[in-house]
């Protein structure tokens, strides 16, 4: 009984409050999203990944660093679902913990990058003029490097490791968000309602923070989700080149690099982490695609 009234409340044509309107919009967006089968697959996979990573100790029978040198490179069996790696560690456990590492890196990057990018972009877009040009020059410089290359150079200068990798990826990712936020801001800046708010004497900072940034959010969110797949690939690439997470930490790219030579006989050892990367990256791509279709349909 309450289910249908909740639905009616959400879908009403005449919302009584801003909150109701906002919830209604979200619900309608969700209905639209739900019809996209591929996007749903992406969403479910991402949820599984996140939950799996959080619950890693609960769902894995072994310690990711526990070596069993007598049982190296074992084939998949009931004892070891994915077999064991070159040091006899359970591959399934390491893949699951690797998910933790990867998602942790991705979230760390996003937390660093999105706010900075949003802020810089909206300030540049709103203030225009010299500030805009100067900030855009800065973003141009960072955009001038292919992401992996600059990350490699950074990591080379610092110590190779997970923190340097996160920092390096973040440094190469933020300009794209700044550009996005700037473009959105410039569209919004000239609207009447912003002019109205300015007339009330609002300070530019307040205008940017309370009015402009919320409107930029949807395209940024879409971009973040889509970018996550790229970040996963870059992080794995860094790991593969030995510049990311260092052994014995179970990062998928690092694991592949270490076991590359075994591809002939024990092909599953480097392949399974590779599949994990593919699945994670694909899931975020599908999710991001679906979100973009809902939030920003013009941009197909």
């Amino acid at each position: 009984m309450s289910d249908t009234t909740l639905r009616a409340w959400l879908l009403t044509e005449t919302p009584q409050s801003r909150r109701q309107a906002a919830w209604g919009r979200t619900y309608r967006g969700w209905l639209l999203f739900r019809r996209n089968h591929l996007a749903m697959v992406g969403l479910v996979t991402v949820i599984v990944l996140v939950v799996g990573s959080l619950a890693a100790p609960l769902i894995t029978p072994y310690d990711p660093t526990a070596q069993e040198l007598s049982n190296r490179l074992a084939a998949p069996s009931w004892a070891h679902w994915f077999g064991t790696d070159e040091l006899g560690r359970d591959l399934y456990t390491r893949v699951v913990y690797g998910g933790r590492v990867t998602l942790g890196m991705v979230i760390a990057v996003v937390v660093l990058v999105a706010p900075v990018g949003l802020l810089v972009g909206s300030i540049a877009g709103y203030l225009g003029g010299f500030v805009d040009r100067a900030l855009m020059r800065v973003t141009d410089v960072f955009l001038a490097f292919p992401r992996l290359i600059l990350a490699l150079a950074f990591v080379a200068a610092l110590r190779p490791g997970i923190t340097s990798a996160v920092f390096a990826i973040a440094l190469t990712s933020w300009p794209a968000y700044a550009r996005l936020a700037r473009a959105d801001t410039m569209t919004i800046r000239n609207t009447d309602f912003i002019a109205a708010i300015r007339l009330t004497g609002a300070w530019p900072g307040r205008i940017i923070l309370r009015h402009i940034i919320p409107l930029c959010l949807s395209s940024v969110i879409v971009r973040v989700t889509l970018d996550m797949s790229g970040i996963i690939l870059t992080a794995a690439g860094l790991g593969f080149l030995g510049m990311g997470a260092q052994p014995p930490m179970p990062e998928w790219g690092t694991m592949i690099a270490a076991t590359r030579g075994y591809i002939l006989q024990q092909w599953w050892v480097p392949t399974i982490p590779g599949v994990a990367i593919l699945v994670a990256s694909l899931a975020f791509n599908l999710l991001g695609d679906g979100m973009r279709d809902v939030l920003d349909p013009k941009q197909r």
């Binding site: 591929l38 020059r137 800065v138 141009d140 410089v141 960072f142 001038a144 490097f145 292919p146 992401r147 992996l148 290359i149 600059l150 490699l152 150079a153 950074f154 990591v155 080379a156 200068a157 610092l158 797949s229 690939l233 794995a236 690439g237 593969f240 080149l241 030995g242 510049m243 790219g253 592949i256 590359r260 591809i263 002939l264 092909w267 480097p270 392949t271 590779g274 599949v275 990367i277 593919l278 990256s281 694909l282 791509n285 599908l286 695609d289 197909r300």
Partner: protein, 339 residues
């Protein structure tokens, strides 16, 4: 726009490039000089004798203010001096000249593949939107953008080289043919053809195929997606209704009218894809032991050879900027609406 103002427009775009390049150099300098704990050790390595360390310290002018250091760096750079590589003991510029052509060969082969396959796929997928073909194309290109290039490379090696034995192994050419062809352009396939050494030519070509395919996959996926998206936009235009009303054939409408409208933005996409190949090249060359700039960069990284790493980074950054600029210029030159 008259011819004169068009060139001014292009000049305006290009004017920002030197600033960007300057910023690039600055960033590279900061990475090499400011970030490491001891920039000298970063350059000469842990095992260098003390007199080498002292000499390099003097050369770099580490006792001088940072701005002066940057000035020295910039001047040396403008003279084409990127320092020497600890690993190869050659000047970095020489190393880069040695290894760059192989990357260029690989990247060019890859982009040709990506264009030849990707564009028709995107066009036809858009023409048959919603069909099974369209769905397959979408999923495959989505997967192409999600798979790490080194995983794909390893799998291909496993399947085609090890299991099926139809592809040659890693490297640019069979060991047998090593050193048989003189270095003219640095691109083995081209050089072998120029010299008329056809057995080397075919072998080099065979070695080129797999890494090129792997490298192409990501940009192919990107090009296909963008082509499809552009085409869907174009096909929704009113002028397509007009074209149908004129009684034109579907093929003509699809290619002459719709595709004709997206050709220019597509050029930009292709230039960006080509630039993106530089990234993929690093990983592909590592997997296939392809003697290009990417492999050079990777090996230098593992040896903590700072000069080499930064030199290669700078060069790649330069190429990237130039490619982006060319894309921009091409857009302005080709689009009649901008003229």
């Amino acid at each position: 726009m008259s011819s004169h103002s068009r060139w001014r427009n292009i000049a305006g775009t290009s004017a920002s490039v030197p600033v960007t390049l300057f910023g690039l150099i600055l960033v590279t300098f900061l990475i090499g000089r400011v970030m490491p704990i001891d920039p000298v050790i970063a350059i000469v390595g842990d095992h260098a004798p003390p007199d080498v360390v002292a000499r390099v310290r003097l050369e770099l002018g580490l006792d001088r203010p940072l701005v002066v250091q940057f000035g020295i760096y910039l001047v040396r750079l403008l003279h084409g001096n990127l320092g020497s590589s600890v690993m190869t003991t050659h000047p970095v510029t020489q190393d880069i000249a040695t290894y760059f052509p192989a990357t260029f060969e690989l990247a060019t082969a890859a982009i040709i593949l990506a264009i030849v396959i990707g564009i028709p796929l995107g066009v036809i997928a858009a023409a048959r939107q919603g069909s099974r073909f369209d769905h397959v194309v979408r999923v495959v290109s989505l997967a192409g953008q999600s798979i790490p290039v080194f995983v794909l490379g390893l799998l291909f090696l496993l399947l085609f080289y090890v299991k099926l034995g139809i592809a040659p192994g890693t490297g640019q050419v069979d060991v047998v043919y090593d050193g048989m062809v003189n270095r003219i352009t640095g691109m083995l396939v081209v050089d072998a053809a120029i010299e008329g050494q056809w057995d080397v030519f075919w072998d080099a070509l065979a070695h080129l195929v797999m890494p090129a395919i792997i490298l192409a996959y990501f940009s192919l996926a990107y090009i296909t997606r963008m082509t499809r998206a552009f085409m869907l936009d174009a096909l929704a235009g009113e002028y397509i209704v007009t074209a149908r009303a004129k009684g034109l054939s579907p093929t003509r409408i699809l290619w002459r009218h719709a595709f004709g409208n997206i050709a220019v933005p597509l050029v930009t996409v292709i230039a960006l894809a080509y630039a993106g190949l530089l990234e993929g090249a690093v990983l592909t060359e590592t997997v296939f032991s392809w003697p290009g700039l990417g492999l050079y960069l990777t090996v230098s990284l593992l040896n903590a050879d700072m000069n080499a790493v930064l030199g290669a980074t700078l060069v790649i950054g330069f190429v990237y900027v130039v490619l982006n600029l060319m894309a921009d210029i091409a857009y302005r030159v080709l689009d009649p609406r901008v003229r």
